[in-house]
Subunit: 242 residues, 2 copies
DNA sequence: AAATATTTATGAACATGTTCATTTTTACTT
DNA sequence: AAGTAAAAATGAACATGTTCATAAATATTT
């Protein structure tokens, strides 16, 4: 009786569920099957019935583990980002680096990890644009993953040997987060071979940031600097209050 | 026989259809009804069946005039942009203006015209993010409206009294187009009263551009300038080849 | 005016994401 | 081991965007 009670409470307390083997296994199978199909056919082209059939389960079962079709993609994306975080932690521990280099490496790595899934990740891009969609990276449901990103970017900035004005350094990760959103958006649309265009774009934007940081303390750049800081504040306010 | 032949060909040649009164009328009714419902209930909440019922027609009839639910929104959006173009032509004819002022007015006007439809215009924002969606402003199906925008922005830039390096002046409208996309995206997500945040954001970004233009010919700004030009080229290449 | 062709309209049928009442399986208690 | 409670699974039913074969209305030709 008591044991039972405890277990039940445990369920409600820790979100992650899955204390039972069976369910975890089923969930994993659904996920794997879905990814296979998404990769082979695309997101829109894959039906939930197909997934269920191939996974050898009933249609409704999928919905026990995933709130929607989109959430299948989101959860996978989060998993990849988790790996990215780990990798980044390792990288920033290595020998001193210029911020530009650190950022490029970070973005490149991300592209590389997502490359094979580009096709269906556009489903997320679409969701991103709809504010009220629970899957949107701007919404409150994605706060967790946003924090994750911010953490990574802050680490990259703080651990670089590039000297930055404290005020700017504090806001930079936010700016970079939006930059990253933009780059991913660009990348999703990018049909060039092996996403070379996105790589190029990354180089150029990172260079722009580098150039800016080089001059951002000079008197003549105060206007630019202040405008930029304001813009960042505005951007953040939208994401934070949604 | 000859007349008939001509008419038939005429149909194929000019896209705009609707040489017949009845059809034009029906189309207009569908459009109006749809907008009413979208405004009252929202885009996702309104069903095609509701529209048909309220318009007093059959469900299938809507699809004679609009390829999809989203296209209802797109066509309306295009109509508004048409008006905007007219208004802008008038504005740029007026007394000399600083580019910043011209841009702000342009963006403000746009917000104002779209304000009452913000709720359902997010449907377009969502479509925008999906490259293969025929309704996306980045896709080839929207070339027309993109050109329209570019035209407006070029007019605003060229007619302003602000002096700009020719190389920059040529690329500036492209940059501004992307800025506009960004601002509209921001605006769609913006839940502040009367979209004051978007106005603020507009001010700040336009100011940034102004500040940049003030220094963009100075030797120390050549790095920034070149990076920016490259970024624009990259952005454009994505849109143009899709 | 009759015949024909074209345009416009219809609504049942379809596809697919999602929900939910019901059943089966699993875990726990006595 | 039997009984019970919880978890997991099921698939029919639902909602809704879209299609399509068919019919009605309209315009054109003879």
């Amino acid at each position: 009786m008591l044991t039972h009670q405890k277990l039940k409470e445990g369920y409600k307390e820790n979100q992650d569920m899955g204390n039972y083997k069976k369910s975890e296994q089923t969930k994993a199978i659904v996920m794997e099957t879905a990814l296979e199909l998404f990769r082979a056919e695309g997101f829109a082209e894959t039906t939930m019935r197909q997934i269920a059939k191939k996974a050898g389960i009933a249609l409704g079962t999928i919905y026990i583990y995933f709130k929607s079709k989109e959430e299948l993609v989101l959860e996978y994306y989060q998993k990849v980002q988790q790996e990215l975080l780990l990798q980044t932690s390792v990288d920033t521990q290595k020998k001193p680096y210029r911020l530009e280099v650190g950022l490029k490496d970070f973005f490149y790595l991300q592209f590389k990890m997502l490359e094979k899934d580009k096709k269906f990740l556009s489903a997320l891009a679409s969701a991103a644009a709809t504010p009220d969609n629970p899957v949107s990276p701007f919404g409150k449901e994605s706060k967790h993953i946003r924090k994750l990103h911010m953490e990574m970017l802050k680490k990259i900035v703080d651990n670089s040997k590039t000297k930055i004005h404290p005020k700017v350094q504090k806001e930079l990760p936010e700016l970079l987060w939006f930059l990253q959103m933009g780059l991913i958006f660009f990348w999703v649309h990018d049909k060039s071979k092996e996403s070379v265009k996105s790589i190029e774009m990354t180089d150029t934007t990172v260079e722009l940031i580098g150039t800016f940081l080089k001059i951002h303390n000079k008197p003549f750049a105060s206007g630019l600097r202040n405008s930029l800081l304001k813009i960042i504040k505005n951007l953040v306010s939208i994401v934070d209050e949604t």
